[in-house]
């Protein structure tokens, strides 16, 4: 068992250092949890990454897993709260200044320039995901059907996603 306070402190620190988010987190968490703290074995760590990718939450949900291992449900709660506290606090701060700052002409121009780049990043995310997960005709068929349903009908996107997951389960995709 690991002390709750130590758990909180370590995850708070991790929360502060993951600039840019995403996959820089894997090597960082690996070093801290497996090498330094020895809270998880390498196998547990890799299984934890796989588990956190099963859920809609971000990869940092690995904190829930490691916290659970360290100190049960309370540990999971504390670790999750602490890893997300810094980014949530920063977002609240930015949001609170947003309305005021965007009236400044320079900021306004800067933000306007960002908009089309965001569009590019959204397509890049789709492209990267497609590169790793579109392999067969079946995948492209699902992509086409999904696209048609989402673009041209009012069916809730959640229903479409869960429906496709059910299709995968029932037909034993592998």
């Amino acid at each position: 068992m690991v002390g709750i306070v130590q758990l909180a402190w370590v995850f708070l620190k991790i929360g502060v250092i993951f600039f840019g988010g995403g996959y820089v987190l894997i090597p960082l968490l690996h070093r801290i949890m497996v090498d330094q703290m020895q809270w998880l074995t390498l196998k547990e760590f890799l299984d934890g990454v796989a588990l956190s990718q099963l859920t809609p939450g971000p990869l940092a949900m690995l904190a829930t897993f490691a916290g659970y291992k360290g100190a049960g449900f309370a540990g999971a709660l504390v670790a999750t709260g602490c890893i997300f506290f810094p980014c949530t606090a920063l977002m609240l701060f930015l949001s609170s200044r947003y309305e005021k700052f965007r009236r400044i002409a320079a900021v306004h121009h800067f933000l306007d320039g960002i908009l089309p780049a965001v569009v590019g990043l959204v397509f890049a995310a789709a492209f990267n995901l497609g590169r790793t997960s579109l392999a067969s005709a079946r995948d492209f068929l699902l992509l086409g059907v999904g696209f048609a349903l989402l673009q041209f009908t009012a069916i809730a996107p959640m229903a479409v996603i869960l429906g496709a997951a059910a299709v995968g389960l029932l037909l034993h995709f592998s």
């Binding site: 993951f18 988010g21 859920t55 939450g57 949001s95 569009v119 959204v122 996603i161």
Partner: protein, 185 residues
């Protein structure tokens, strides 16, 4: 401007983000696409500009999926709304992982859900594409902006440039453009 914004109740915020957190398998941009569809297009809680700015800020620290939820929540109901949206979004994943961790540390096995994800992944890509097309129609429809979008796509998808760098460069382009039109007209 696409205004006429409706005021959202805290309960509505919690319910919306809980649903997104419970069904947005695929994470990351899939979440962003869901939030865009539910909060911008269907509920008209905020405009495309505001939402995309929030997404851009969200690249700075931590996961941008969570950060966009925090931003929308704050935009609607201040700090309480922001924290509530973030917590509601994380709650389903937290409960799932807690339950799965309990099973895992007892039986040492990861559940076999791979076939479910293989089914949902292509649809998640479709969802992101639909959101991207909607955003492109609004914000990258002219020659100059379309070129910036294409350049940002290439930098990120083909050359592996970090999102933060892409956005910083685009922001400077915006500054330069604003400065030039300010001078000329």
């Amino acid at each position: 401007m696409e205004k006429e914004i409706k005021k959202a109740s805290l309960r509505e915020i919690a319910a919306t983000f809980f649903m997104i957190g419970a069904t947005g398998f695929g994470g990351g941009m899939a979440i962003v696409a869901l939030v865009e569809r539910r909060c911008v297009q269907e509920k008209r809680w905020l405009g495309h500009d505001e939402f995309m700015h929030g997404l851009a800020f969200g690249q700075i620290l931590g996961p941008f999926s969570l950060n966009s939820c925090t931003f929308v929540g704050y935009y609607l109901r201040g700090a309480v709304g922001g924290v509530l949206a973030a917590a509601s979004f994380i709650a389903p994943s937290f409960l799932m992982i807690s339950a799965l961790s309990m099973l895992y540390f007892r039986f040492h096995e990861v559940p076999e859900l791979k076939s479910a994800l293989l089914g949902s992944n292509p649809v998640v890509i479709a969802l992101i594409l639909v959101a991207g097309i909607g955003m492109a129609r609004k914000k990258a429809a002219r020659l100059g902006t379309a070129a910036v979008a294409a350049a940002a796509f290439a930098a990120s998808a083909l050359f592996g440039m970090s999102a933060l760098t892409v956005l910083a460069i685009a922001g400077c382009w915006g500054l330069w453009k604003g400065w030039r039109t300010g001078r000329l007209g």
